[in-house]
Structures are given as C-alpha cells and as structure tokens.
C-alpha cells in the first residue's frame, strides 16, 4: 500500500466538513505526522456561513467600533471583534459606554451586565444551526435560529460574566464538532459546565433564538428566577438536575413553544411563582415533587392548552393567587392538598372549560380569599355544591371571606345552604344564578 496520509486527507477534504474533522481526529498521534489539532475556524473550511469570535487572539480586538485602535492591554474596552470564520461578520459596539472590557488570564471580554454588548449584523437568511457559547462559567452548545439583522452578544441577561468565545454555524454541528469546539474554548480558559453556579437568575432570559437547550450541569443551582423566561422557541427541555433549586419564580415563563416538560427534581423548591406562566403549548404537566412549595402564585396562569393537571403535593402551599387562571382547556381538577392555603384569589378565574371540581377540596384551608376564584368557569351543579360545602366545612370565620363564581351551573339547595352558613360567618358570596 503506497497511499500517503496526505493523499488520504486530500480525498477527504472534498467530501465535506464532517469527514475532514472526523478523519483529522483519527490521525491524531499516529505515525510521524503532526497530530491534527482542531480549531473552530475549521468548521468554516468549506465556506459555511456563520461567525467565530475568540478573544484569545488579541489582534482581532479593537477599542473602537471602526477597528482603528487596537486593544493592547488588560482593561481596554472592546468596540470591535473580528470574525475569524472568514465570513466578515465582525461584532461591534458604537456606544462607548456599552463596550465590554478585555481581560487576560484567561483572555475574555468581561461584561458589566448593565449595558455591555457587542452587535453582529446577521446576514440575509439568518443563521439556523448551532451556537457554541463559551463563558467564564460554562461552555455549551445550543440549537439556534437567529433571524437576519442585529444580534447582541452580552447584555444584561447573559449566562456568565464574560465572553470567552462564540461560534455560530449556519447548520447543525455534529456531536464531535460541538465537543471539539467546546474543548477548544475550555482549553483556552473558558468555564466548563456551569457546575459551580448557584444562581442562574436571568441566565437565558429573552433568548428567543435558542431552539435546543443542552443538558448542562445545574446541580449546584439554588435559584432559577427568570432563567429561561421568554425562551419562546424551545419546544422541549432537558432533564437537568434541579435538586438543589429552591426558587423557580418565572423560570420557564413565556416558553410558549414548550409542548412537554420533564419530570425534574423540584423537591427542594419553595417558590414557584409564575414558573410556567403562559407556557401555552403544554398539554400536560408532570407529577413533579412540589412538597416543599409554599408559593404557587401565577404558577400555571395562561397555560391554555393544559387538558389535565396532576395530583401534585401542595400540602405546604400557602399562596395560590392566580395559580391556574385562564387554563382554559382544563375540564377537571384533582383533589390537591390545600390545607396550608391562605389565598386563592382568582385562582381558577377564566378556566372556562372547568366543569368538574372535587368535594372536600377546601375542608382544611387557612384563609378565605376566593375573590373571583371561580369567575368565568363552567362548573357543574355538583362541583359548585362541592366547593361551597367544603368552604363551609372549613369553618373560616375571620379574615378575608369572599367567594365568586360565574358561568356554569347555579348551586342546588345543598349549595345554597352552604352559602347561608358562609354568610352567617361574614362571607361575601356571589354565584351563578344570583342566590
């Protein structure tokens, strides 16, 4: 056999980007030839569209947006970062005060998370593929769909405090391409996997371009407030480790394309306010562990496609304000534990399909604020009777005592008797039929 390795490489060069990279890796360490060393610019070898930025190469950094004053020292502002992909998509910032700062050891662009950001003008057609984002806290690959026009790297909401490198490729990277790119950035000082981050507040907020979210290490995370808020293009979510998470307020709010949600570990979670608010493509919800949850205000508000709701453990829940408001596809509701509940203000308001509600649901509640709780529902007579009788059973005779129902059926004489009892205890009650 006389074929040389060089010949083999030439053959594979013509076949495509993936073959080049895979073959190159196989060559590593073999024979007397220099091992192939991956560089992110190799991803663009065949003229792929996208961009690649790396502050490791200081010659690509300029203090001004025009690219006339080079960055020369740790602490200089960065107004322009040259695209290393060969596509000429440099990132720039015209406003002086909004420029990130170049820092060394490792080379990175530090963000003040007030206004620092670099802007890329994404060319016509946009980029639909993979983004590898390396920050000081973690380096991961995302599926992205970025429309043509201005796109910001940095900003107030960012998964880290510095940009250590970014690649946008206008096609889906293979797993080996992703891992090679991630490793390249990590070897140059980027954070590895977010495993040491405790607060993920606002990290991926407003990232509507993310179509695929990776299985990152969130095992140290205690706070996830607004972490994925407005990630409107995510259709699924990975089974990340949230076992240490205590606060999930608005974590997935407005993830309007999520059609399913995994059975994550929320056993330490105490606050779920607006956690899944307006996830209006979810048709079902998993039986997550909410046994430590105390506040569920707005948690599932506007989840308009939910057709069923699981029997989650709400035994510690005190606030259910607007929790299921406008879950307009729910037809029935499970017998959740409301024994710690103090406020149900507007909890099921606008659940216009809600017909069936169980008996004994409120027998042991601690507070009587049901203002507008069942307004614009479709409760059957048995269900409204169930609710009224249960409220009477609770014995609440102090504090806020208000109940509203409209739509659906009027109560029977059983329900009316319960209303009489409630009114004798100071409740204000309004029901369908006007009794």
């Amino acid at each position: 056999m006389s074929a040389s390795i060089d010949n083999l490489i030439n053959v594979n060069f013509t076949k495509g980007r993936n073959d080049l990279l895979n073959f190159g890796l196989k060559l590593g360490g073999k024979g007397q030839h220099k091992p192939y060393v991956f560089k992110p610019e190799d991803l663009f070898f065949l003229g792929e569209q996208g961009a690649y930025y790396s502050p490791v190469d200081i010659s690509t950094l300029f203090q001004d947006a025009a690219g006339t004053v080079p960055v020369t020292a740790d602490g200089d502002p960065v107004g322009r970062m040259i695209d290393l992909s060969g596509n000429g998509n440099s990132a720039a910032q015209s406003t002086s005060a909004a420029r990130p700062t170049y820092n060394t050891s490792p080379d990175r662009l530090s963000l003040d998370k007030v206004d620092d950001t670099l802007i890329i003008t994404v060319p016509t057609g946009g980029w639909n593929g993979t983004m590898v984002l390396a920050t000081d806290e973690g380096t991961v690959s995302y599926g992205v769909d970025i429309p043509a026009g201005e796109y910001e790297i940095g900003g107030v909401y960012f998964p880290g405090n510095a940009i250590n490198g970014v690649v946008f490729l206008n096609s889906a990277m293979t797993n080996i391409e992703k891992s090679n790119t991630e490793e390249y950035f990590i070897e140059n000082g980027a954070g590895v996997d977010y495993s040491e981050v405790t607060s993920f507040n606002d990290y991926w907020r407003d990232r509507s371009e993310i179509t695929e979210f990776p299985l990152i290490d969130t095992s140290s995370g205690t706070s996830f407030i607004l972490a994925w808020y407005n990630c409107t293009s995510l259709t699924s979510f990975p089974l990340i480790d949230t076992s240490s998470g205590t606060n999930f307020d608005a974590a997935w709010r407005n993830c309007t394309s999520l059609t399913s949600f995994p059975l994550i570990d929320t056993s330490s979670g105490t606050s779920f306010d607006a956690a899944w608010r307006n996830c209006n493509s979810l048709t079902s919800f998993p039986l997550i562990d909410t046994s430590s949850g105390t506040s569920f205000s707005l948690a599932w508000r506007d989840c308009t496609s939910l057709t069923s709701f699981p029997l989650i453990d709400t035994s510690s829940g005190t606030s259910f304000i607007l929790a299921w408001r406008n879950c307009s596809s729910l037809t029935s509701f499970p017998l959740i534990d409301t024994s710690s509940g103090t406020s149900f203000y507007r909890a099921w308001l606008n659940c216009a399909s809600l017909t069936s509600f169980p008996a004994n649901a409120f027998d042991n509640i601690k507070g009587g604020d049901f203002t507008l709780a069942f307004t614009d529902t479709n409760l059957s007579q048995e269900s409204i009777d169930n609710i009224l009788v249960s409220l009477a059973t609770s014995g609440i005779d102090s504090g806020t005592r208000a109940f509203d129902q409209s739509g659906g059926s009027a109560p029977s004489s059983t329900g009316e008797a319960a209303i009489d009892t409630l009114r004798s205890r100071g409740w204000t009650v309004s029901v369908t039929g006007g009794y």
Binding site: A65, G75, D76, T95, S96, A98, V114, R346
Partner: protein
C-alpha cells in the same frame, strides 16, 4: 502595557433627564453613537423613582473633563451643547445614592464591579410585572 482605562464610572440618570444626559455623554464620549448611552429606565430607587444606568471603564481624566466647560467634539459637532451643559451641572460624583434631582456617578477603580456601584447608588432592577 497598562490600559489607560483605570477607572469604572457608573452613572444613574433620572428618567426625565435621559435625553439631556445623552448629550453630555456625546460631549464626554468618543463616538457619535454616544447619544444612545442612556436608554430604558430599568432601575428604581427606594421611592420608586426610575433611572437609566450606564457603566463603563473610564480614563482617570474623566472627573476632570466632566468638570470643565464643554465643547462639541469632532465626532458630534452639531450636538446640543446647552443640554449637555445643563446635565453637567447636575453631576454628583461619589456623592451617595441616586436621587431624582441629580445625575449620580460612582467613580472607582476599574476592577470594581458595576453591580456593586449600582448597589451603592441605592438602585434595584424594576421588578417583573405580575398579575
């Protein structure tokens, strides 16, 4: 080589003063786009007054220049010098928390964090809308 940007300046502009403060930014800055320095009033003080905040590394001469008579720079010869001068008169450097009648500035070492400066200004992000 040592950077010339040895300081960090974090500036809180009361919402009604944003337009004029941007003229000051134009006069003190280095780019024709510096009239976009202060944008959304996304921060508030304890009384609920709203502010736009910007933070940037700055050269040590910043405080001195900020106190001198302003001139329209080459990058913005047609700027509103009167508006910039009115804003300049409201500058309060390292004078404590932000208030609606001043443009409060925290000027410190470049390694100080913008977030710490914002705390020193007594500002917090405006909370999310709820019900």
């Amino acid at each position: 080589m040592m950077t010339k940007y040895q300081q960090r300046a974090t500036i809180a502009v009361p919402e009604p003063l944003i337009a004029e403060a941007n003229q000051l930014a134009l006069a003190l800055g280095e780019s024709a786009a510096d009239d976009k320095t202060f944008n959304t009033a996304a921060w508030q003080d304890a009384e609920g007054n709203l502010y736009a905040v910007s933070s940037t590394v700055a050269k040590p001469i910043f405080a001195q220049i900020a106190g001198q008579p302003l001139q329209a720079p080459d990058h913005a010869p047609d700027m509103d010098l009167a508006a910039a001068t009115r804003s300049q008169a409201l500058l309060q450097i390292n004078g404590g928390i932000a208030t609606p009648d001043v443009i409060a500035v925290i000027l410190g070492d470049r390694l100080e964090s913008a977030q710490d400066h914002i705390k020193a200004l007594g500002l917090t992000p405006i909370p999310q809308d709820t019900p």
